[in-house]
């Protein structure tokens, strides 16, 4: 699971950095109490060494039969980068008392730190989950290959960190 996630992160980074057009990606995961969620998001290109947040221009999350859209976000939903490394997505919808509150939270320094949360407006976030980011094939093949070559190292680094942590 870890390797898939970190590889996905590398892919995502590659797409984001190298694509000449708006990128779009998917994510999926399970909560700790075994509920599944999935979705997609997109944002405009950022520089290859970008650090900071970029606003999402597209977002969709399916959870417990509900769809959460970009317009549901309580604050601008963003993708996060540190020196070009993708850290995850911040999305929060905590102002709808008719359905679960949901949140995706990006990491501080690694996409490994990203997680999902759900709960309710009144009771706060009661459950967490792990999220995996995957790409969708919308970019040019040539760019993908280039990006993969350039950022394989990032994925490796992420793997090493994961290993050290579990040791």
């Amino acid at each position: 699971m870890t390797s898939l996630k970190t590889l996905s992160a590398g892919l995502l980074l590659a797409f984001a950095a190298a694509s000449s057009q708006a990128a779009s990606f998917t994510f999926t995961g399970f909560t700790d109490d075994s509920k599944s969620f999935f979705g997609s998001f997109g944002f405009a290109d950022v520089a290859i060494d970008f650090t900071g947040e970029v606003n999402l221009n597209d977002f969709s999350l399916e959870f417990e039969g509900q769809t959460y859209a970009l317009s549901d976000a309580d604050r601008p939903a963003v993708a996060l980068f540190d020196a070009g490394a993708f850290l995850g997505v911040d999305f929060i919808d905590n102002d709808d008392s008719t359905r679960f509150s949901v949140a995706l939270t990006g990491g501080f320094s690694s996409v490994d730190e990203a997680f999902f949360a759900h709960g309710s407006t009144s009771n706060g976030f009661t459950n967490y989950g792990s999220v995996s980011f995957l790409s969708t094939p919308v970019s040019e093949p040539g760019s993908v290959a280039l990006a993969l070559a350039g950022f394989g190292g990032i994925a490796l680094m992420a793997r090493r960190r994961a290993k050290a942590k579990s040791a």
């Binding site: 700790d32 947040e53 309580d74 604050r75 601008p76 911040d90 929060i92 905590n94 102002d95 509150s101 949140a103 939270t105 990006g106 990491g107 501080f108 320094s109 730190e113 997680f115 949360a117 709960g119 407006t121 009771n123 706060g124 976030f125 009661t126 459950n127 967490y128 792990s130």
Partner: protein
């Protein structure tokens, strides 16, 4: 009988300084009459008088006037004949408390046994008269400290106190003896300490206070007894909570000009000002530099241990800010330069009495705005209103009072159960109300009234405040608490009263019992203490002075904890949350943001919508705390000890500490990164820094 010459047989049960008690060997079996008698011998001694001797005393029956009543005794003794030895009288067990005041009369002169426990209610006359005021059961409380005068509850307390009270006497008419009777090491006992067992001794009647009248029944013990420390000294006042600690302290005439005409600067021919006159006779404090040094050491120690952010003081010499500054200089020598400052003199001045009130404060915690005093002619000392502004922008006014004392009645304002001058004090309290309503603009309605009101908690001057929008904070947290002991009864003259809006922000209030319960012989004064002589060439009682805070004054200080945080709550879209230079409560929920606390004591509180992504830029251990209570509770994490139990973890991330939550600790769910504490290592994840 009175005036008759007679011969009385009896066993010697107790020998006093000026006579002895005898008791009939068999008694008359009539419980309504006493079987004992005091034989007054003055300075004459008789060889036959020894404990257990059966004697025949020739003398004249007399009624001796004492304590506003009379006691039957044998005087003009002409002979004491020995008729036997080795007798012992079995003490009569008596019912106590009395069921009717005066019931003990029937036991006058008799050897009795009274079952305890007893509480020492007053030790003020221990050194001078050899007396301790006891109460069976708990100590005596001033009835008007507990109940409004005239109410049935008040009447019951007055009666109950009379019935429970008993004077323990040393059987000596000598004042200020070289040895203080019933004194343990370390100037014990304190009022509030206990005698747990029975007391055995002879019942007598005589003065019970500083005055010749009224008297009360007293016991001259014939058997040893022991104290139990039931009211121990504490090294510091109890914690009061909140972020701002405010104290009120009557510092017992802190004068930097002495009664000998010298002053602390070493000048001679100085005087103290009172009304239009300036002379040394107006000085009320230390007699000389030596006494002042002793006084100063104790007051500074007490104030340093209280360590309040602001203190209202009473009984400072009214010499501008000289006396107050002298006190602050001494405090800063102990606590560090600049720790305290004296608030500038108020608009309208400090009045013309010999003493004044003042405010000292910690500049690191607040600043003093221009104060104002109320010089209305009804006030003996002007009320001082000192607005204080915390560095987070919050304000309150510390209002310091010293109302007319209870002593020295005039016929126009007599003692009708609330001390002399109750009418005047009540008028002063009403003046205070009108002054405060006129000054609400300075600090809004946040007014904390402190001071020595010379009125117990349920007396009229306090009542007119508590029935008009002010809250008696001590009553709220410690009903019945005391700051002063008088006539054997404890009550509080020193109060903290908050306006309604401020009262909601007061977390706690306590009196610190360092003075009222202590032996007066331990104060800074040199009078009536060895090495001076008191009875001819005999040394006065020992000087029990010590440098600590105990008996630094005659009043106990009173301390309140205020929660005057600036509350700032981040909106969900905020990317930063920035505190003030003072004490803040910074609340943050969902959303990625950086929290900068600023200086002061700050509480970072994460709400239940928190889902990580918080960065704390300037966490200061010892000043700031992080509350993760709400999000942990939402996640169902036990709040007992989430660090030790593995729900929270930390790893170093660059120069920072990354705190993660693991909702099932050792279970399958992984830890999730929650908050990044900049420039910290993982020792930051410590119970002292977190609130759960």
């Amino acid at each position: 009988m009175v005036g008759q010459t007679t011969v009385v047989p009896g066993v010697v049960t107790r020998i006093n300084s000026n006579g002895f008690f005898i008791q009939d060997l068999t008694g008359d079996a009539n419980p309504a009459t006493s079987d004992g008698l005091f034989v007054f011998t003055g300075a004459t001694t008789y060889p036959a008088v020894a404990l257990g001797n059966l004697v025949r005393v020739s003398g004249t029956v007399a009624e001796f006037s004492t304590g506003g009543s009379t006691v039957t005794q044998l005087s003009n003794v002409t002979a004491v004949a020995l008729t036997g030895a080795g007798f012992s009288i079995t003490p009569t067990d008596i019912t106590f408390p009395e069921t009717v005041e005066g019931e003990l009369e029937r036991y006058e002169g008799m050897l009795v046994r009274i079952s305890g426990p007893f509480t020492i209610s007053q030790n003020s006359f221990q050194s001078r008269f050899g007396q301790l005021t006891l109460a069976q059961g708990d100590r005596l409380e001033v009835p008007t400290n507990r109940a409004r005068p005239g109410t049935p509850e008040h009447t019951a307390l007055v009666e109950g106190n009379k019935l429970r009270r008993l004077i323990l006497d040393d059987g000596s008419s000598l004042q200020n003896p070289s040895t203080i009777p019933y004194l343990d090491a370390n100037a014990l006992p304190r009022a509030g300490d206990r005698i747990t067992g029975n007391l055995v001794g002879v019942i007598d009647y005589g003065p019970s206070s500083a005055s010749a009248t009224p008297g009360d029944y007293r016991l001259h013990p014939t058997a040893a007894f022991t104290y139990v420390v039931a009211n121990p000294r504490t090294a510091a006042p109890a914690a009061v909570g909140g972020n701002i600690k405010v104290a009120s302290f009557n510092v017992l005439n802190y004068f930097t000009t002495f009664t000998n005409g010298q002053n602390v600067a070493g000048q001679s021919g100085q005087g103290c000002s009172e009304g239009a006159s300036v002379n040394a006779g107006n000085c009320r404090g230390a007699d000389n530099l030596d006494e002042f040094s002793r006084q100063r050491t104790k007051i500074i120690d007490a104030l340093a241990r209280i360590n309040a952010d602001a203190v209202g003081l009473m009984e400072l010499q009214n010499n501008g800010n000289v006396a107050a500054q002298n006190l602050v200089d001494g405090l800063n020598q102990v606590l560090g330069a600049g720790t305290y400052a004296v608030a500038p003199l108020p608009t309208n001045g400090t009045g013309s009495d010999a003493i004044r009130t003042a405010v000292i404060f910690k500049p690191a915690r607040m600043s003093a705005l221009q104060g104002i005093s109320d010089t209305a002619s009804i006030n003996d000392r002007p009320t001082l209103l000192q607005p204080l502004q915390l560095h987070n922008g919050e304000r309150f006014s510390l209002v310091v009072n010293h109302l007319k004392s209870k002593g020295g009645c005039s016929s126009s304002d007599p003692d009708l159960g609330q001390g002399c001058w109750n009418i005047k004090r009540t008028a002063q309290a009403n003046q205070l109300r009108s002054f405060l309503s006129s000054q609400a603009g300075i600090s809004g309605a946040a007014q904390l009234i402190v001071g020595d009101f010379n009125a117990y908690a349920k007396e009229d001057p306090i009542d007119v405040l508590t029935t008009n929008g002010f809250v008696d904070l001590v009553e709220r947290f410690q009903p019945g608490a005391h700051s002063y002991v008088f006539n054997g009864e404890a009550g509080r003259l020193d109060h903290l009263l908050a306006s309604n809006s401020l009262a909601a922000k007061v977390i706690g209030a306590v009196h610190w019992h360092i003075n009222a319960d202590e032996q007066p012989q331990a104060d800074y004064n040199r009078e009536l203490k060895a090495p001076l002589t008191c009875n001819g060439a005999a040394l006065c009682p020992p000087d029990l002075y010590g440098p600590g805070p105990y008996r630094s004054s005659d009043h106990d200080p009173v301390i309140a904890g205020l929660s005057l945080y600036k509350s700032i709550t981040a909106g969900v879209a905020d990317t930063s949350l920035v505190g003030t230079a003072g004490d803040d409560i910074l609340t943050s929920g969902a959303g990625r943001r950086t929290i900068t606390t600023g200086a002061g004591f700050d509480q970072i509180v994460f709400s239940s919508s928190f889902t990580g992504a918080a960065t704390i830029a300037d966490f200061a251990p010892g000043f700031d705390t992080i509350s993760l209570r709400a999000p942990l509770q939402a996640l169902g994490v036990p709040l007992v000890d989430p660090i030790t139990q593995g729900y929270l973890s930390c790893r170093v991330s660059g120069a920072d500490a990354l705190i993660s939550v693991d909702t099932d600790a050792a279970g399958p769910a992984p830890a999730r990164a929650w908050l990044l504490i900049k420039s910290a290592n993982c020792s930051v994840l410590n119970r002292t820094n977190f609130v759960f």
